[in-house]
């Protein structure tokens, strides 16, 4: 696990005529609804504290209106906070002047947008090379790099097409290639796959995970889709009405929901596909007779397939050739059912 690349500290965002004045009320303990009713200001984000670690995918998940898109825009300061700090590699972004801020956006961060936001009058290649072009690099220095990334996202041969020739999924591939061509260590993805068809979305998720294995970028990913969030996240942040309800390792959130909201939220997902053996295994006890070996990183679905539906017995859990724990199939079955439900 890497160092915190981006740290958000006590971040508040109030929308309205006079945010500073409204902030004083928030500090006196006024809630979102009350503030809106009395003062006409909207509390967009309230006391957000999140660490986004280097080389990890941090997924910020919430329903529409939860403030997730507002939050990601604070990272590269497309939106300025009312109060709080945004630290990128230890430096407070809010202290940056225009020049330094542009420099950060040019070299340290790239962004992928929900509605692609490609330049319609530029070719796919020129769009892909947006970052180096903006930095003022000559054609010869970025041409090869841009072509290479287009090839990697599966768009080789489309260099001279225009965005309106491409389908939605292909446009977003250009969007990803554009972000990668920037060579920035951090990638912000704002609902990058939300506008795509489900099948294409799965493709793109796989593409992202595949690229991430070798690139190890710090990725901040916004999503309103829990399945997507659980699939991609190393660190999951759940936002509701501008407040972080729970954050942590996705497996952990799934097994130990701290809040009724989260319990409801996770009640509909396919736990077998998301939970992994490592999250529910027990320390190895040599007294027990094991009936087989399973991998630590396997999902429960894979285990069930491997055991052929056998629901009894204890399996030893292996990782890189060593035994690291054991799993009772009864625990596995129990993990498939949420422990508590707020309603029903």
């Amino acid at each position: 696990m890497g160092e915190a690349m981006i740290s958000i500290r006590h971040l508040y965002k109030v929308f309205g005529e006079n945010p500073k004045e409204a902030m004083a009320l928030v500090h006196q303990g006024m809630g979102k609804e009350e503030l809106h009713a009395e003062n006409g200001h909207v509390l967009g984000l309230c006391d957000i504290n999140v660490d986004m670690r280097e080389g990890e995918i941090t997924v910020i998940m919430g329903l529409s209106g939860s403030g997730k898109s507002t939050l990601i825009r604070h990272v590269n300061r497309l939106i300025d906070p009312t109060e709080g700090e945004v630290l990128v590699q230890g430096e407070n972004v809010l202290d940056y002047d225009e020049e330094r801020l542009r420099e950060m956006r040019r070299r340290q961060m790239s962004m992928v947008f929900q509605h692609f936001a490609l330049l319609p009058h530029r070719t796919v290649l020129q769009n892909t090379a947006t970052a180096p072009i903006v930095r003022g690099e000559p054609f010869s220095s970025y041409d090869k790099n841009a072509r290479n990334w287009l090839e990697r996202v599966g768009l080789g041969g489309y260099e001279e097409s225009y965005p309106h020739h491409l389908s939605g999924g292909m446009k977003q591939r250009v969007g990803i290639a554009r972000a990668l061509t920037s060579d920035a260590p951090t990638m912000l993805m704002d609902e990058a796959f939300s506008a795509l068809d489900p099948l294409i979305r799965t493709d793109m998720q796989n593409l992202l995970l595949e690229l991430q294995v070798e690139l190890n970028k710090t990725i901040v990913f916004i999503s309103h889709d829990l399945d997507e969030a659980l699939k991609l996240a190393d660190h999951l942040v759940i936002l509701k009405d501008g407040v972080v309800v729970q954050q942590g390792e996705p497996q952990n959130i799934l097994l130990n929901p701290e809040d009724d909201y989260i319990v409801d939220f996770i009640s509909d997902i396919n736990r077998a596909r998301v939970l992994r053996v490592r999250s529910i295994m027990q320390p190895f006890n040599s007294d027990v007779t094991v009936v087989g070996a399973i991998d630590r990183e396997a999902t429960l679905e894979q285990v069930i397939a491997q055991t052929g539906g056998e629901s009894r017995g204890v399996y030893s859990v292996m990782h890189e050739g060593e035994t690291v724990g054991q799993l009772d199939m009864r625990d596995l079955l129990r993990a498939l059912v949420p422990e508590k439900r707020s309603s029903v």
């Binding site: 956006r105 070299r107 936001a117 330049l119 319609p120 903006v134």
Partner: protein
């Protein structure tokens, strides 16, 4: 007795009124009454609206309406010299441009001008069909000896439209960036567009000599610059917010954003504005022949002045032909830009 005497008598202003000392103007009705030897009586039915003239009849201190128009005229004449001192040098290049363009257009032989125009058409529209249509139109006009007039009209339009674009696009950009500037400019643009075209000419005739070409140049530009300003402003305001945000996120400077994103994306609207501007210049160039603008308008004017029906109609038809080819050529350029960025 005038109708409003009672007003001044009852409020005790009579003395003040009579200080004017001058005999009040005698109206035709008064004269008639005098000859008949009877007092004019005004029935309730004919009781006049308390206008300046009606009040003046009762009280010499109240100004008449013609004093207002005269005052306006005197005021304008008073600042005329100063205004002229400032405006004359600024607008002088316009005269040079117009005279220069007319000189070049008239002194270059037709067998150079016509191919040049056709080449320009192809460069703008990239359509051989349109080039053929333009060739047929110009050769047709030349065949009935209207070539010189048509070329004069065209060169005036080219100069004026070019200046409209050169001034209008920056003004439009400035308007799109500042809501306050937009609020101030919109009423001015509305006024320029709705003011009857002849009204522009009146103060201009006072300011400059009728023989100067900038006189009609200014009139045409003031009238025709409006659409290019409006549509530039609109076009830039309509640029997709997502794309602008992306430009911001990749660290573009405001200048890069303007040149690489906003203007290219607003281009279809700007081109539509240029098309409108050219059409409006053409409309104005005919009226401007009243103040010595050369071209087909002169023939139309001759048709009206000396009732030469045929001359007027043929010249009018010539203007229609010019309008059609200018419109088609600019529209096809617009279509080309549109096709390149349809989303």
């Amino acid at each position: 007795m005038a109708s409003y005497d009672f007003l001044f008598d009852s409020t005790g202003l009579r003395d003040w009124c009579d200080q004017a000392g001058q005999a009040k103007t005698t109206s035709m009705a008064d004269l008639l009454a005098q000859t008949k030897g009877e007092e004019v009586t005004v029935s309730a039915w004919d009781f006049p609206f308390p206008s300046l003239d009606a009040l003046n009849e009762s009280c010499g201190q109240v100004p008449e309406t013609r004093d207002l128009t005269r005052g306006l005229e005197n005021g304008f004449l008073a600042i005329k010299d100063t205004l002229r001192f400032v405006l004359d040098p600024i607008t002088e290049p316009l005269s040079w441009l117009l005279d220069g363009a007319l000189f070049i257009a008239e002194s270059t032989p037709w067998w150079i001008i016509i191919p040049l125009l056709l080449a320009l058409t192809y460069w703008v529209a990239r359509s051989w069909g349109l080039v053929a249509a333009v060739a047929a139109s110009i050769c047709g006009l030349a065949f009935i000896d209207h070539y010189e007039y048509a070329i004069q009209t065209l060169s005036i339009i080219f100069v004026c439209a070019a200046i409209c674009v050169a001034l209008g696009v920056p003004i439009g950009i400035a308007m799109s960036r500042s809501d306050r500037l937009q609020r101030i400019s919109l009423p001015v643009l509305d006024m320029l567009q709705t003011l009857p075209t002849f009204v522009y000419l009146i103060p201009l005739i006072f300011l400059f000599s009728v023989t100067e070409s900038k006189l009609y140049g200014i009139a045409i530009i003031m009238y025709a610059i409006v659409p290019v300003i409006r549509l530039t402003d609109l076009g830039i305001r309509l640029v997709d917010k997502d794309v602008l945000e992306a430009a911001q996120a990749f660290g573009m400077t405001p200048r890069q954003k303007l040149l690489k994103v906003q203007i290219p994306l607003a281009l279809p609207n700007i081109m539509a504005g240029v098309n409108q501007t050219i059409m409006m210049s053409l409309a104005m160039v005919v009226i401007a022949s009243l103040v010595s603008a050369p071209g087909l308008g002169v023939l139309v004017l001759r048709g009206i002045r000396s009732l030469e029906l045929g001359v007027g109609l043929v010249a009018g038809l010539g203007i229609v032909i010019l309008a059609v080819i200018l419109d088609r050529v600019t529209k096809s350029a617009l279509a080309r830009v549109n096709a390149a960025q349809t989303r």
